[in-house]
């Protein structure tokens, strides 16, 4: 009797454990988060499109949620605020505020004043944001490349035209990765390196030297140029011209990155991919920076904004709103919507030395010097000190404007990361160093720019170091090139060129430490492979 009871209990126990629904342990989210497997099963092409779209969007939009976190988090980087940790905003700030072109007065935003006064240390929050953003952005491009191998593309049920699109997307992802690494080595030197073979986890990435990453970028660009769309295919997407331009920039700065200059390679890349790709410079200089600059004929690679559909406090909305003059003591110097948006945050101004580079008849000198503004900045935190730059505006060619969001903060203007006029000046720089013909440089490339600016022509003998670096300032200011250019011409450090707040109010010489950014302190602790840059 007892034995059979025990048997019953035993069998009952077995039955119970099979009902135990061990499969219930495989839980996955049931809301807007979908496992990678299911995502590619349900909608393979849509997933490729959306994932690829993210790679572009992450350059200027901080998260999935909208500028105020309307739908979900405003920032997809935990611990970093959506407005101020935006990639474009921190990149632009580091490239411009360190130089003669721009200064910032926001004491409340940790790190901005230190950048403006070239007082860099490894606790700088803006640089910390920048570093994190570069590499999390790279990790997402790696994910795209990982998921778009030929094998996977063929096995996911796409039709032929979709497969072709996805292959373009893959090349574009590799371009964006190359661009991000370009920014990384330009600013930080030896950096962590991850590619599609590195799966996400918790271990610190290995570090590669500036030279090694330079070779990587060079190899990638050469490999993908044949795979990209032809130049001028889709405004906003990378194409052969964008990749060629990046390759040329890489070679232009090769002396800084590797110690060996590569001007002949730079000239060749320009001629092969950019100068004859069908771009022409805009007739009117100011048009390239207006609200409807998507109609420009010279922009090669833009970061696109839209006032209602791509809103962010950190894309061009930042540059334009911060360029206005803020209210002080209840007085508003600029009329409302002076630059086509209500922002007028105030904050970014320019230096006396930079304004002094311009001839009075230069049409490119677009400054606001009205009464109430003081030219010389004695105290960075005072908004009224420093003239304003009005080059970027949300107002269109016809004078109208659209500003989005309930505060009318968000602009339509796109950011020209690469444009033809830059390529012209790069050609002239190659000529300066003997890799191209100076006469052609002067007549075909420099003089159209000079004419457009309302200035006299130049000739081959005018092409000097001083001329090139100053002309680049006059033509390309506030476009994120200045720091790189000054370093290349040895003018960021040293006393050859000194400006208001280069180290101190009247400016002083800076040591060569300044040619590299400090690696953020926390990163050095977390990643034992990283070494701090010299002098920090």
């Amino acid at each position: 009797m007892k034995k059979s009871i025990y048997k019953i209990i035993f069998i009952g126990g077995i039955c119970l454990s099979t009902i135990s629904c061990l499969n219930d342990l495989d839980q996955v989210p049931e809301d807007g988060r979908v496992t990678v497997e299911n995502q590619f099963e349900n909608d393979p092409y849509g997933t490729y499109v959306g994932l690829n779209a993210k790679l572009y969007a992450q350059l200027s939009i901080a998260g999935q949620g909208g500028p105020n976190g309307e739908v979900t988090d405003a920032s997809d980087l935990d611990g970093f605020d959506g407005g101020s940790s935006n990639y474009f905003r921190v990149w632009w700030s580091t490239q411009e505020l360190l130089t003669d072109e721009a200064k910032n007065s926001w004491e409340g935003d940790d790190g901005m004043i230190d950048l403006s006064s070239a007082n860099l240390n490894s606790s700088n929050k803006v640089i910390d944001n920048f570093f994190y953003r570069i590499f999390t952005a790279i990790s997402k491009t790696n994910e795209f490349v990982r998921e778009s191998t030929d094998e996977k593309i063929n096995s996911r049920g796409l039709n032929e035209s979709q497969k072709t699109e996805v292959k373009y997307y893959r090349a574009e992802a590799r371009f964006l990765r190359a661009l991000l690494y370009f920014h990384a080595i330009d600013n930080f030197g030896n950096v962590p390196f991850i590619d599609e073979t590195d799966l996400p986890g918790t271990t610190a990435p290995k570090v590669r030297t500036r030279q090694q990453v330079f070779s990587f970028i060079e190899g990638e660009l050469k490999d993908i140029i044949p795979q990209l769309r032809p130049a001028r295919s889709i405004y906003g997407r990378a194409d052969k011209a964008a990749a060629g331009m990046l390759l040329a920039k890489l070679y232009l700065n090769a002396g800084v990155y590797t110690g060996t200059t590569r001007y002949p390679d730079c000239k060749k890349a320009l001629e092969d991919y950019v100068l004859n790709a069908g771009y022409t410079i805009d007739t009117n200089y100011a048009d390239t920076f207006k609200g409807d600059n998507n109609t420009s004929s010279e922009i090669i690679f833009p970061i696109v904004s839209d006032p209602n559909n791509a809103q962010s406090y950190g894309n061009m909305s930042y540059v334009i709103n911060a360029a206005g003059i803020g209210k002080t003591d209840g007085i508003d110097l600029q009329p409302a919507f002076y630059l086509g948006s209500s922002g007028q945050w105030g904050g970014n101004k320019t230096t006396r030395e930079f304004v002094g580079l311009f001839n009075t008849s230069d049409k490119r000198a677009m400054f606001d010097k009205r009464t109430g503004l003081i030219e010389f900045i004695s105290d960075l935190s005072v908004d009224r000190q420093g003239y304003r730059v009005t080059k970027f505006t949300n107002i269109r060619k016809d004078g109208s404007y659209i500003a989005g969001g309930s505060g009318s903060n968000f602009v339509d203007t796109d950011f020209p990361m690469f444009r033809l006029s830059d390529a012209y000046l790069m050609y002239a720089e190659c000529a300066l160093y003997g890799a191209a013909d100076k006469n052609i440089a002067a007549s075909t490339y420099l003089n159209p720019l000079r004419k457009r600016a309302g200035l006299a022509d130049v000739s081959a003998s005018d092409i000097t170091e001083k001329f090139i670096i100053e002309e680049r300032g006059r033509e390309l200011y506030w476009e994120g090139h200045r720091r790189q250019d000054l370093i290349r011409f040895n003018r960021l450090s040293g006393s050859q060129y000194v400006w208001n707040w280069k180290g101190s109010a009247n400016g002083n010489s800076l040591s060569s430490t300044i040619n590299l950014m400090p690696i953020p302190y926390n990163q050095v602790i977390m990643n034992p492979n990283l070494k701090q840059n010299p002098g920090y």
């Binding site: 009871i5 454990s17 135990s20 629904c21 219930d24 495989d26 839980q27 996955v28 989210p29 809301d31 807007g32 988060r33 979908v34 496992t35 995502q39 779209a53 993210k54 969007a57 992450q58 998260g63 999935q64 909208g66 500028p67 309307e70 980087l77 605020d81 004491e107 409340g108 940790d110 490894s122 994190y132 999390t136 990790s139 991850i194 996400p200 986890g201 918790t202 610190a204 990435p205 889709i234 906003g236 998507n294 696109v304 839209d306 209602n308 559909n309 791509a310 809103q311 209210k327 209840g330 508003d332 009329p335 409302a336 209500s342 969001g405 009318s408 302190y521 926390n522 602790i525 034992p528």
Partner: protein, 953 residues
Amino acid sequence: MRNYNVLKIAPAFLLLGSMLHAQQSDSAKKETEIEQVVLIGYGAKKKSDLTGSVTALTDKDFNKGAIVSTQQLLQGKAAGVTISTDGAPGGGANVTIRGISSISGNTDPLYVIDGVAITRESTGGVGNPLNLVNPNDIESISVLKDASATAIYGVRASAGVIIIKTKSGSQGKWKFNYSGNAQLNMKMKTYDVFSASELTDIVKNQLPAKYDLLGVRDASGNQALYNTDWQKEIYQKAWGTAQDFSARGNAFKGKLPMRLSVGYNNNDGILKTSNFERMNASINLTPKLLNDNFLITINAKGTKTKYRYADTGAIGQAIAMDPTKPVMSDLPLYQNYGGYVQWLQEYTSGSNTFVSTPQNVGLGNPVATLEGKRNIADVKQFLGSSEFEYKFPFLKGLSAVANLGLEYTESKTTNDNQAYLTAVNTSTGAQIPYADVSNQVRNNQSLDLYLKYNKSDFNSGVISDLGFTGGYSYQSFRNAGDASKFLNDPSQYSYGYYRDKGVLISFFGRGNITFVDKYLLTLTVRHEASSRFNNSQYRWATSPSAAFAWQMKKEDWLKDNNFFSDMKLRLGWGITGNQDLGNNWYPTVAYYNIVNSPLANFVSYPNGINQAPVFLSTINPNAYNSQLRWEKTAQYNMGLDFGILKRITGSVDYWRKDIQDLLYTAFLPAGANYNSKIAGNFAEIKSQGIDVDLNFKVINKAKTKFDLGVNMGWVDMKTTKVNVDGSIDATSFGGLSGLVQNPNVQAMSVGNIPYEFYLYKQTYGADGRPLEGVFVDMNGDGKITPDDRYLTGKSGIPDFTFGWNTFLQIGNFDLRTVWRASLGNYAFNNINARYSTLKYIDSDGFGAVNNTVTNYNNTGFVNAPGSFQFISDLYLENASFVKLDNITAGYVFDNFLNTKTRFRFYGSVQNVFTITKYSGLDPEVGTDRSKLGVDWNLYPRSRVFTFGVNVDF
């Protein structure tokens, strides 16, 4: 029962009642010590048979007075158990048993109510998960402290287990109880800020350009200065009441014992507009069928609560708001703002006049904030459990038990603000009130099936008692919710939702043997898996434990000893696991987030640069960690229970905990993953400690009693490893508040206490005042960098915690006091660090004037705290304290007006006084575990005066 050790022996003793919760009639001449039955996991044991470290409390031991939350019943009553409560009505409480057990999220112990393990995470609106239970309904609480007691609960129990059993029905006549009280809450300390005249002087002398901004401009444009005490304006005397009624008895002639209770609670908080209102009802049925072979226990509790939360930001605003401004004004400038005076600037631009806030950071009048915001949470909760026990008739001692539990919470939280809290839109003139709604539903279900067997009627032989328990448990957790924001503003309207589900499955078993009635051995094991580790190789975890007890008193050489009335030695060991990451149920799953705002697209022009653009929504890969695994804690315990002369009882325990693979959501090196943070296993902590509980029956006569109970806990914790898996930023703990981007002040470093304050060393001038921005250059490299921080050796974790209680009874009169003390805990005064600077008075460069704390007189700082001065050891203070928590006096009428009803009237005061050197408001600096010891804007605790009555009839 536990008792409490005290350093300075107070001439009072607490009754250590090892009594069952039986009738307490004073006419009993002889006191019979009925052996207390203590609840342990999946069963009960006599106290003398316990092998693990358990504190058992019954109604007699609970704290009295205005008790709103269950945790308050335990404060100061058990060694090694520290409880700190939030000041808000219905607010949360942190319970820590034997030091911090984990560094991720919630380290509260597991609460088991009537057999159902309830969720620990808060549900929208519910600050305290124990608000589900009316403290008046509780019959007993067992605190399981060491692994040999908790291991049977497996992975949710590494921080200890608190088992709560509610009162049940009885045989015999129906008995009723009514208890009601009225309470008055009054605020205690407020921050020391400048008065209107003091601030006016500071502005005149140090910020003369801003003098014109003070006060208001009256109709003729003249400056009128007022004198407002903003902190006085936001607090109120708060009334509250609790009414409870219960009936216990039985139906069907004793076949169906039942207990019913209803309760109502309504408390205002001392911060104006905060309120907590709760109605609850419960029913408990314990029928016995089939000749007492089939026992059924059914428990159902329902609660309906309404919270109105007052915005605690108003506390900071009350510190900062300009005292020269009045609260309200008739001037036309403030008409759109409800008549409340706000920082507004009128300015003209073109032909338009606009009004906006110069600070641009929200409107700052704290009274307006409190009155204008309506943040209401409506919460309905249901907790039900049914236990069926069938005793097999053919084998005495064997029974099968099935226990089903359901915990259901539904909450709706709304924000419905007045329009006058929104700044007038400068381009459209609109002033749209903010409103949002979020809903959350939690549905947790559990099923336990087990067999238990016990045989204790051995006639002879070595074994005197034998028992086995073995079974299976399945728990599912569902959490779903949604949120809609900006209901009134279509241009910003948004909607989001989420659905989480988690499952825990486990198998468990326990065996216990008693040899010759003196030597007890218990072994348990639990093998379980969690769906949180889906995709991980480490899904299953095993928690074994073993415990041995030696009832020395039963030995021949102690049996007849009159000096020692009790002596028992306990040894225990166990391994428990932890998988708690709060609401993060999918840390190991690779998924893409397809939710994307229509405002955050990728824009391109595929049709040509002169054509319309195309907007593509984006998909974001989410960070995940496929190597995530259980956190494992190995615990060792050695304890001695003793009794002396039948007057003194107590126990001493020495324990050790080794925690490995600590779960924590940490910052990662850039490039390691798709995000900056991920949940991982990052550290190892070793801790050890001693718990002492003593109870003295100083006077123990029939009508006069004096008891003193004392407990002490000593904890020593050390981090032994930091980067177990990958590398984390070990200095990113203890985030401060007050700026847009805030630094961290705590670190986990090997060989030191966890959450150690890691700060710069302040330098002082010859006059003893701190030098702003000047610190000791620790590494001598000539500049101040983050490497110049030093480990202070101090943290918010106390070295010693004490509690002592006195109970005095003279005839029908009784008086109790409860004291608590904590030594060796430090606090970082975030308030002083943020506010003690002229820059704050200057409103950080915006166009306003702020008030600030008078500590500014001590520092004289000029700049904003930045990333250096903020992290100074100037603000680190010793926050050790001694508190008199509670004095309760009561008087009992046994046979009131000859109606055979028992009336007890009582009055009590809570938070009577605190002795501490800490300069902030309260040395118990808040319940946020992620920043232990950082003092910022806490809701102040109030002094509570209660008068109540308890009637039994």
